[in-house]
């Protein structure tokens, strides 16, 4: 009976880690770019970026949450309200400006990851 052979996944693991890191870098740049882009419709119909004081954009944080798992966050107290839109107690509202969703649409993470992974594996 043939001896079972252990599959060496070192090269695959290395390629996945490299592709994940490159995807994280790409997304990081895209999120910042989307926040800075004057594409977001404001209440008066004008198009603006999402930068007022710059705190939200500067707060962008990415942390490794596990092997090949990364988590982006924007830890300012009003980030969700800016992203989802909200009704203000003083009257008026903020429109939703979902920069994470548009960034993910722009990058197409699955396709990006596949491309990098293929390149890493093929050397």
């Amino acid at each position: 009976m043939a001896q079972p052979k252990k599959l060496d996944t070192t090269a695959l693991d290395r390629a996945i880690a490299a592709a994940t890191q490159q995807l994280v870098n790409r997304l990081s740049a895209e999120y910042t770019s989307e926040i800075s882009s004057d594409k977001w419709k404001w209440n008066d119909g004008s198009l603006r970026d999402i930068v007022d004081t710059g705190r939200l954009r500067a707060s962008q944080t990415v942390r490794q949450a596990g092997q090949n798992r990364y988590q982006f966050s924007w830890p300012v107290e009003y980030a969700t309200q800016v992203h989802e839109g909200t009704k203000l107690k003083g009257g008026g509202e903020w429109p939703a400006r979902p920069w994470t969703r548009t960034a993910l649409e722009n990058v197409d993470p699955k396709k990006y990851f596949e491309t990098i992974l293929r390149r890493e594996l093929n050397g």
Partner: protein
């Protein structure tokens, strides 16, 4: 796929009794359940209690299959806002989750010193388009 009127009717059955009112300039009131599309809530109306807004047109994503069929992921965005700072959306949220167990992507944001409590959910409405041609 359901019509927006069917969705409105379902939402009304689920949480209608918990919703507040629109106060119209002539002194009359209307349940605070609005379908947003061609018409926004008139600016001279005020809201008391909890308001529910449904988008007239749902979000739609098509998923090709190996056959010529297309699966359409249709989902209706529902927005709730509590204009009464003493009334949370917790009870309405529970009711919605009981009525629609497959609700997607809930975003519940508490009130802050400047903004009201809000809840956004998506109600899925699956649809399969048969082969063409």
């Amino acid at each position: 796929m359901a019509s927006v009127n069917q969705i409105r009717s379902l939402i009304n059955s689920a949480i209608g009794s918990k919703l507040g009112n629109y106060n119209l300039p002539d002194g009359s009131t209307s349940p605070a359940l609005w379908v947003r599309g061609q018409q926004q809530v008139p600016k001279d109306w005020t809201v008391t209690g909890i308001e529910c807004v449904i988008d007239e047109v749902p979000e739609m994503v098509n998923k090709p299959t190996l056959s010529q069929q297309v699966v359409l992921d249709v989902r209706w965005p529902i927005y709730l806002t509590s204009y009464d700072t003493a009334q949370t959306l917790a009870e309405v949220r529970e009711l919605l989750f009981q009525w629609f167990p497959d609700i997607q992507d809930p975003v519940h944001v508490p009130q802050t010193d400047i903004s009201f409590e809000t809840l956004k959910v998506f109600i899925p409405d699956y649809s399969i388009q048969p082969e063409r041609g």
